[in-house]
């Protein structure tokens, strides 16, 4: 198959739950593998997108500077960029920290929290800087499609990818739309 569709995936401020749900496609993955080749993804360990990706699936919102860089790399290299799951769409549970200042969060996690020993705020220059708020990805780059759910079910992935691979405009049936 010379013309396989190239799919890249990543998890930003997510929990990999959406990737796990994708793997719930189970035996349908075999059919998918006939049509699709994975590019940059935790499933392949390829570190950077090739310039010819067709579909980029993004799990998680953006909570730090590295997330922003990765997201921009995906946007640059993928023809179609998809926000996968609640966190990518509205920040999700990581966005619960938006009710607090970044300082409050760091102090609670690394100094004042129960059971903290050897309290210090991590400041290694290698660590990506945290953003003041967790943001959904459509606030950073243009997003073409959204797959809601926490996580979206395997059927959501299947419906979306089948539509796309068969040349239809993707459209989720009502019963596939869930925010939890």
């Amino acid at each position: 198959m010379a013309n396989k569709i190239r799919v890249a995936t990543t998890s930003l401020a997510g929990c990999f739950g959406c990737h796990m749900s994708f793997l719930d496609l189970d035996e349908r993955l075999v059919a998918l593998a006939e049509l699709v080749e994975f590019d940059r993804s935790p499933l392949t360990d390829i570190e950077h997108c090739s310039s010819t990706c067709d579909i980029g699936l993004i799990e998680g919102g953006v909570c730090n500077s590295e997330n922003v860089h990765v997201l921009r790399e995906f946007r640059k290299n993928c023809k179609i960029l998809v926000a996968v799951g609640a966190c990518a769409i509205n920040g999700g549970l990581p966005a619960m920290r938006n009710s607090f200042s970044l300082e409050e969060c760091l102090l609670e996690a690394y100094r004042d929290g129960i059971g903290v020993e050897n309290a210090q705020i991590p400041s290694d220059p290698e660590l990506p800087l945290l953003l003041d708020k967790v943001r959904p990805i459509h606030e950073v780059v243009k997003i073409d499609y959204f797959l809601p759910g926490c996580p979206p079910s395997a059927d959501v992935f299947w419906s979306f990818l089948s539509d796309l691979l068969e040349g239809r405009e993707p459209n989720l049936a009502n019963e596939l739309i869930h925010f939890d």
């Binding site: 769409i89 509205n90 920040g91 549970l93 459509h138 459209n171 869930h178 925010f179």
Partner: protein, 238 residues
Amino acid sequence: MSNTINIDGQTIPFQEGQTIIEAATAAGVYIPHLCHKPGYTPHGSCKLCTVNVNGRNCSACTFPAAEGQNIINNSRELTHDRQKITQMLFVEGNHLCPSCEKTGNCQLQAVAYQLNMVDNHFPHFYPHREMDASHPDILLDHNRCIFCNLCVRASAEKDGKNVFAISGRGINKHLIVNSASGKLKDSAIDINDCAAHVCPTGAILIKRTGYQVPIGQRIYDHQSISTVALTQEQEHGE
């Protein structure tokens, strides 16, 4: 035949004094709504029930049905408008459904499903809003309030108590509690009040009941709000 209106080509009878949404519900036609509830004084604030009446957009929950009305309810344009309204409701508050006890039973969420809403479109405000957990039985989480005014009306009209009011304008609008401390625990609200059960979202919750029904088996998990609302509201007979 007199006393009929026309909704999307369907002839529908109405009685004098009925609003468009009341006539529609009685005839089995669903018009999306959040701040309307049969038996409550219409409020007309959420605008989800916007329909086109003889060329003009009106709120079906406040607009009286009248002879000769040609009404559009189901159109791509109205669905689009309603979707945008719903998206604004989502970004204006903090609606993180996976962390909300109301998920699956929430009318705001169910309306979003009904409208095929898959994202929030607008930039998020992430406003700073308080949670009032002071009452032993009732939780008030302002993050999820959409200012539908139903608790205000329930408390005043059904419970005779005036526990709630909406204060402020525009982005400063917020729900206030009638007690010296401003806290729910010092108000007259009781777990059996209508006001404690009427909230369409997860803003007012009864404590220790949240997970009695597991996620996946809740009202709107497998049924659309159009079906549920019509059944419940026709039963109510208004």
